[in-house]
Subunit: 337 residues, 2 copies
């Protein structure tokens, strides 16, 4: 059997048990098609998954396994590596140290499994930052925890919706500050990085487009100077270095054109630029990918949604997308390495 026909073994962490994580996991794995391409291995609490199965009226078998390699990946069976054993139903919709601890334990276990190559990729369900803090951990979020425990120097986030892949030059900065942070060197680095990560993913000749900052891409200096002073020089420098990059492209065109397949990825200059594009297209289905780890990691971009947890109404479409992107990227990476 060729390696590209083998199913990708994905470690899936349950997230905060008081949120919608377990629910969207169980729902997304109730679809037949999923098993054609992946072997899902759940990391979390068997009791939580039993409670969830009851909630969503899923009537399959929850099978506790010791190691991801034992997972069979069949519709109707959830293979679970137990990372806690709470033994009683959990409260939904509440920030709790216990829940935070359980969520973190599942992540720690999945990282170990990846290090041992028992799984080929990671998918994580939402955690609650406050609960994690209450449980005594210092990690502000998944990304930082994964980077630290994998000893990764540098990780980046890429958003994926349909054919659109977005990198971010800056993320959690006030907009004014994100503009002030723009320099030729920083943009050049962002370009170089984006292209390198796309190549690592298996895109052989990726073309990256840099979004413009100002309306109409600055309209030749009539509406703002950053395109002329910073963005165009950074793109020229990158092109001179042999990188396949274009731009700055007006931001109201670049994401659309990327959707159409004109670019492999887009470099967004600030958080909302890429977020508005992806999340307006598909709010729940926007997939966040962490690159720079030894394995691909994907997740939905939404949170624990405590307000609707335990009601059985959570939309699992995003989780299905996160699993699809996870398997596609892991497969692509494997094919080319």
């Amino acid at each position: 059997m060729n390696s590209h026909q083998e199913r990708v073994r994905i470690g899936i962490t349950m997230g905060d048990p008081g949120g919608i994580g377990p629910e969207i996991i169980v729902k997304s794995l109730a679809e037949t098609g999923v098993y054609e391409k992946i072997i899902p291995v759940l990391y979390g609490d068997p009791e939580v998954f039993r409670q969830t199965a009851h909630l969503v009226q899923w009537h399959g078998h929850i099978k506790v396994i010791e190691n991801a390699r034992e997972a069979v990946g069949e519709l109707g069976v959830l293979d679970v590596v137990a990372t806690s054993n709470v033994g009683h139903p959990m409260d939904y919709g509440k920030v709790s140290a216990k829940a935070g601890d359980m969520a973190v334990k599942a992540i720690m276990a999945v990282i170990e499994a990846a290090k041992n190559q028992d799984i080929a990729a990671i998918n994580t369900a939402p955690i609650n930052k406050e609960a994690v803090r209450k449980a005594g951990y210092h990690y502000p979020g998944h990304t930082e925890m994964l980077a630290e425990l994998f000893c990764a120097d540098h990780v980046v986030t890429m958003f994926v919706v349909e054919n659109l892949r977005v990198f971010f030059l800056t993320r959690h900065h006030p907009l004014k500050e994100a503009i002030a942070l723009l320099t030729i060197d920083r943009v050049y680095e962002g370009i170089e990085q984006g292209i390198r990560y796309l190549q690592n993913l298996g895109f052989s000749e990726p073309c990256l487009a840099v979004a413009a900052l100002n309306p109409h891409g600055g309209e030749n200096g009539l509406i703002g100077s950053e395109e002329h002073d910073i963005l165009a020089p950074a793109v020229s420098k990158a092109q001179a270095a042999g990188l396949s990059v274009v731009g700055p492209v007006p931001a109201d065109a670049v994401f659309y054109q990327a959707r159409q397949g004109r670019y492999t990825g887009v470099l967004s200059l600030y958080h909302d630029q890429g977020h508005i594009a992806t999340k307006t297209l598909d709010f729940n289905g926007t997939v966040s990918v962490t690159l720079g780890l030894p394995v691909i990691r994907t997740s939905v971009d939404h949170g624990t949604a405590f307000d609707i947890a335990g009601k059985g109404v959570a939309d699992a479409h995003g989780q299905s997308e996160a699993l699809r992107v996870c398997s596609e990227l892991a497969r692509l990476t494997r094919l080319t390495t």
Copy 2:
């Protein structure tokens, strides 16, 4: 017959004859469904439309009429009020004073027709600013020309895609400047105006959402101060004045939520915020609506596309959308006035 069953008589200007305007008009009027709701009346040059009919292999009849009221609105017939008679084929894809003059003449005529109530709404095809200038006119664009000739004090642009309606607090300013322009008074005015225009359109109880400026809507002051210092106070002031407004809502959620029908409209704080949302969703199908004139005016948001003019390959989907939105808004306005 009730007024809402009457078809809306829309004056359609041909735009620059060297661009794709005439082509998208003829293509959009070759669809049967269009005539159920509108009576299209073309303003422009009969020879240009003949040339276009040949280009797109449309085999109907071009009927020159004196007044819009003579138009019959039947598939296979294009009713044209002749605003020029060039008498020979026009060159495609070139900036020309002659073409600019023809484009302006059509707009002047449609404005007169609207003033005489011969038509109930206006739809305009793209013009070329340079050609208009060469022809000796001082108008920088359609909006300014319409405002001046209709003697309208105040006009605003609203973008429409699907269920999403977007107003802009600022438009053609560098992003840095658009942020600096934010004040409580200005945002309050933007809210008040947006709601008033929605009411004028016939939405009886419009709810407007104000987009946030910073990532995660500023995350309670952790990522930027404008939400706390400017946006929230402006929204509170508007609520206290009885206006139905919410926000600031994180910009990566607000446009999606509006699409879902949660808000009647969104107030975008800067050009690209609303542009990225609408044009990433539907680049060609984003409809620009001018409000504040005695009649509704819609247009596609793209330009003359000189690079593909005369090739018969222009996508008329946006023009079809512009006609649909024009008829819907004109109908809504009429039903409630």
